[in-house]
Point group: C2
Chain length 348, copies 2
């Protein structure tokens, strides 16, 4: 017999953690996916942020995301910037050059036109700054009380870069894990805004488009880059656990190497949150061959969006139950688990 | 000075009529669109349901739509079938063969899992029946009271068919207007469900995917088909008025030739609605060269989704103020205006 909560959608189903994954694997995929989605990896069906299919002689990538962030405006960004950057990043981490975006708005009756204009200005600015085009759109309105102000969907289409060959199946023991900068900034910023917590050091979302820095890394090290992902909902812990599940290989992370802004760490500690589970919106994780790790790191650090990049760990040989293992600052070891998903709803 | 309502979003901004168009032209496009959107037609910037751009040697079309229909389940369909059909249709009417769809869900906390499963089953069935693939997706959850149960965004990518050359600029005087069947079925069904009006003859949405019948027409008459559109929000009146504005040519419609189910007409009359403004979800309008009109009509009528197709009018030579003119059953003439947009929110 199912527990009563099994019969209703919970907020945690959208948190990017274990419950999200179960919903996707058990409820959604069996119903909508034929043989068309990417084939299962060793740890189950591999879920990518973007799908790839052939058009003529080109490989085209496609990704979609809805944005329901609350509040709509926050230090470091807004729902519009978040949407454009998020879609660009989802394309960039699968090795695609963004070509075209769609923009769909669901706006609540009574929503201030000035706020809509502010969001649209931000969308236009972010798209232009990153050389991508919003090519088509849709606007729906719903009655007051039927949507929370404004929801945005952006879907992106990109073309696979020459030389990029990214996939879970390319990850081998000894590969290094590069993280492009500090973690937790976006999630903690949203949470502190929402709960109106006045931290002494103001927090700021890391919301940014990563196509340029990722493009530089791929151009320089192409085939030696095994896999990339932007650790959004569910944070670094969700991304690393997905890699472990899909590859069947363990990952070892040096806690002391993971960059965290002190203010973010203090805020997370105060609220009892694990910063590894907190969402980022301007960071990427790259699994790279050991021999190019230093070169990749150097490239990241030269870019304004990768100044605090670090090699945070490596892929280990397979064991019976592969895990993400965290080597703590004092040399202890603990397992970094897949977040369950209830920590932070409405974060993006 | 602006009226106070100018500063807030109204439901009518999403109705598909004049206010929708003003929002898009005056608020959205100036902020997000560079030179990348389709060039302006003679009547202003041409707004297509899908954008076209080049990938390698192929022309790729992309379209996006959010679905906020209320109720989620209705005679003839549900929000899932509506989303898949709507996206397929938007690609089909620009002459594209649907290739891939994305599916983004915004689900409210507490939404029954069984209802979600029912919608997903419908999505899977509709996609499979039409040979298109859902290749990527996203699921967000929001707190109870923050979204009205379930919103869906589907974005579609297709590849332009060989020989299809559709555009407002190809429309010339003498072209015939073909309508693929009865109008108003979807909109009146939703409205009667929502208001719990028990009509004697039960209404049923026309929700259907038109790629096959449109493909047959394009394959047979290719270059002689000038323009196509599916008359959804804003109904036949909005579609015809868009053609008139973008081409600068008048259109004359024979009211007696426009097929309307008697039950739909009765329901519309009873509620004081103009059936020309009511949404359809399984119909298309084609502007075709006079010499192929009979052949196209015959092709439509042989298809299960075009059994009641009719030639409803023609394009006239340009005049100073081009209009859609309706020749009534008794020979009178009146102008079929662009709907303002307030009639039917949450219709799709």
């Amino acid at each position: 017999m199912q527990a009563p909560t099994d019969n209703k959608i919970l907020l945690a189903h959208g948190g990017g953690g274990q419950l999200s994954e179960e919903l996707i694997r058990q409820v959604i995929l069996p119903r909508i996916a034929g043989e068309v989605l990417p084939a299962p990896g060793p740890g189950g069906r591999a879920l990518h942020d973007a799908a790839t299919f052939k058009v003529g002689s080109e490989w085209v990538c496609m990704t979609t995301d809805s944005y329901v962030v609350k509040p709509l405006f926050f230090p470091g960004g807004d729902i519009g910037k978040l949407a454009i950057c998020g879609t660009i990043n989802d394309l960039a981490v699968v090795g695609a050059r963004p070509v075209a975006l769609s923009l769909a708005l669901i706006v609540e009756e009574g929503f201030p036109m000035a706020s809509l204009e502010r969001v649209l200005d931000s969308i236009g600015r972010t798209a232009a700054a990153n050389g991508v085009s919003v090519v088509t759109g849709d606007t729906k309105t719903v009655e007051a009380g039927s949507a929370d102000g404004l929801f945005i969907n952006t879907t992106g289409v990109g073309v696979k870069r020459q030389g990029a060959d990214l996939g879970f199946d390319r990850v081998v023991p000894g590969d290094r894990i590069i993280l492009s900068g500090t973690i937790g900034d976006h999630g903690m910023t949203i949470l502190s805004q929402r709960q109106d917590i006045g931290f002494q050091t103001p927090l700021q979302s890391d919301c940014a488009a990563l196509a340029e820095v990722i493009g530089q890394v791929l151009d320089a090290c192409g085939g030696q880059i095994r896999f990339m992902r932007d650790p959004t909902r569910g944070g670094l812990a969700a991304t690393l656990n997905e890699i472990v599940r899909a590859t069947g290989r363990s990952i070892e992370i040096e806690e002391g190497q993971v960059p965290v802004n002190p203010a973010v760490r203090a805020a997370a500690d105060m609220l009892g949150l694990d910063v590894f589970n907190v969402a980022n919106e301007g960071k990427f994780v790259a699994v790279v061959a050991a021999e190019v790790a230093d070169r990749c790191l150097d490239l990241c650090r030269r870019h304004p969006l990768g100044g605090q990049a670090a090699i945070i760990g490596q892929v280990k040989a397979g064991v019976q139950v592969p895990v993400v293992e965290l080597v703590t600052r004092i040399g202890g070891r603990r397992i970094m688990q897949m977040p369950y998903g209830r920590d932070l709803p409405r974060i993006c």
